[in-house]
Amino acid sequence: MAITKESLDQLARAGKPRPRWVQAVLDFSWQRPLGTVGAVIIIVMTIVGLSAQWLAPFDALATDYGSMLAAPGSQHWLGTDAYGRDVMSRIIFGSRTALIVGLGASFIGATLGALIGVASAYFGGRIDMTVQRIMDVLISFPLIILALAVVAILGTGVQNVILAIAIPMIPRCARVVRSSALSVREMPYVDAARAAGYRDSRIVLRHMLPNVMAPYLIMLTAFLGQAILLEASLSFLGLGVQEPVAAWGLMLRGAAVDFAETAPWMAIFPGVAISLAVFGFNLFGDSLRDALDPRLRTQ
């Protein structure tokens, strides 16, 4: 074999240790098979959501009154709904909605919660006391009730649903992050930053926030599954994503219940999709928590 630049590069690469992130991924999948199953479900769901327009066999919105309530078969693998829309295509497009709402809501909720938690711990004293009491009151509402109240005020639609799910998550994340931030506040580097005369906002954002990343990520992933469930619940009540957008919770509503006896596929498959997605996010979240925070290990 002739010595070419490519083969030399290959040799050089083979000798080098793998990049750190590749090694981290390999370690994670070796040590936590259940978490890897979760990660695979998430990755598949993301790919499906991103390439929905190419993957879906039919247009998710196209009605076909010729084949209303068709049973699963060679043409419509998972059957059709009361408007003749292909259930499988709607599930594929629904994964996009679930991802947008799930990621959006848990990112906004966890991030704002973390900011409030860190700031509350940093300022301490009366500010901390006041903020925590407000959080207590907010936590005493069930998640779904607070989300419903927000929807009742803001109205329905994807953006409002994201906000409605994010808001009840804020106090839950704030409380957890605050407890970690309390110990971070006592670290010498925070004193040093204060002595150096940095502004409060800089200390909170640049010095403390990066050090509460572990609880932040844990809360974020724990919220993801919950956000998808909440979105489905809100849409099922007719207070979430609105027709004709394809969303799993919405698919379970109305006709799916009315025609449940004759066309059970309409009620079964979207529920399976929800369960599978939440299952994946929960498995991954659990394993990530074990990996990042040994104190919280469920063993």
Binding site: R133, D136, V137, S140, F141, P142, L143, I144, I145, L148, A149, A152, I153, G225, L229, A232, S233, F236, L237, L239, G249, L252, A256, V257, A260, E261, P264, A267, I268, G271, I274, S275, L276, A277, V278, F279, N282, L283, D286, T298, Q299
Partner: protein, 318 residues
């Protein structure tokens, strides 16, 4: 201990007062009121401003906010929540039956959940890393993933398709006809209880694993105690603490948060009433419901703390 209980009971008052102030202000900050909501549903937005103001005057919405608040608080102190702004009937009447239904469902779901969670959690812990353990864990993670309203739909479907039978759709109080009552409520209790048990099973398992590593368990084993006795008398009591917390939190949640499951099973519980009250901008009803749910939440928290002390004599409250 008695001193502590009294202190905690007294501390509930400022917390509930805070909740009352917050919900009162929040409702009035939100755009729209009950008068507007009513005309919007009747489809005639073009009602004269005068007529709407008259309605508001009748409901006392024209008075200054502090006056509205003090008169509401005065009523609450006498346990009189006033009239619903939407239906005009006394709120105590509106809530009474629904509260009974929600409470019964919450109790039944808790029974289902604990009956599943405690044995499964213990089993998974003592058979750690065997196929039994994995099966229990998958069963519980699946319970967390399945929406309980969907589980409800599937249950109804199975009964309908395979047994040609549907649970009764009208609520009968337990004291009127216990059989009818249970035939209706057992299904939502199972659907909700499964998810609830998933949370508790995971907690039971991890708490049990931790306790089984303690020195006193090793001592008990070393002196040759019967395994059942070790588990029942030494381990279970100590492992129950975190489980009770979880059960308490979930119970409080069930009292008001079962909106979707109530919808599926056609139950008129507190959750659906809450949604109606908010969308009607029915201030008085929403306020009453929020106070009741918050009171249940605070009381359950208090009860779990007392249960701690009872289970673990090392915990002494002052």
């Amino acid at each position: 201990m008695l001193h502590y209980i009294l202190k905690r009971l007294l501390l509930m008052i400022p917390t509930l007062f805070g909740v009352a102030v917050l919900i009162f202000l929040l409702l009035r900050v939100v755009p729209g009121d009950v008068v507007e909501a009513r005309y919007l549903t009747q489809g005639s937005q073009f009602q004269s401003q005068d007529l709407m103001n008259q309605e508001r005057k009748k409901l006392g919405l024209d008075q200054p906010i502090w006056k509205q608040f003090t008169s509401w608080m005065g009523g609450v102190l006498r346990l009189d929540f006033g009239l619903s702004m939407w239906t005009g009937s006394p709120i105590t009447e509106e809530i009474k039956l629904r509260f009974a239904l929600s409470l019964q469902l919450a109790v039944m779901a808790t029974l289902v959940a604990t009956l599943l969670a405690i044995p499964l959690g213990i089993l998974a812990a003592i058979k750690q890393d065997t196929w039994i353990d994995y099966a229990v864990r998958v069963f519980s993670i699946a319970g967390l993933a399945m929406p309980s309203f969907w589980l409800g739909i599937v249950m109804i479907l199975v009964m309908l398709i395979f047994f040609k039978w549907l649970p009764p759709m009208v609520f009968t109080p337990f004291w009127v006809n216990p059989w009818e009552n249970l035939a209706q409520l057992i299904w939502p209790a199972l659907a909700v209880g499964y998810r609830y048990s998933a949370v508790a099973t995971r907690m039971m398992r991890s708490a049990m694993l931790e306790v089984l590593r303690e020195d006193y368990i090793r001592t008990a084993r070393a002196k040759g105690l019967w395994l059942k006795l070790i588990l029942g008398r030494h381990a279970l009591k100590n492992a129950m603490l975190p489980v009770i917390t979880v059960v308490g939190l979930e119970f409080a949640f069930l009292m008001g948060g079962l909106v979707v499951t109530e919808q599926v099973f056609n139950l008129n519980g507190l959750g659906l009433l809450f949604v109606e009250a908010i969308s009607h901008r029915d201030y008085t009803l929403t306020q009453a419901l929020v106070l009741i749910v918050a009171a249940v939440f605070i009381f359950v928290n208090f009860a779990t703390d007392i249960a701690y002390a009872w289970l673990d004599p090392r915990i002494r409250y002052r």
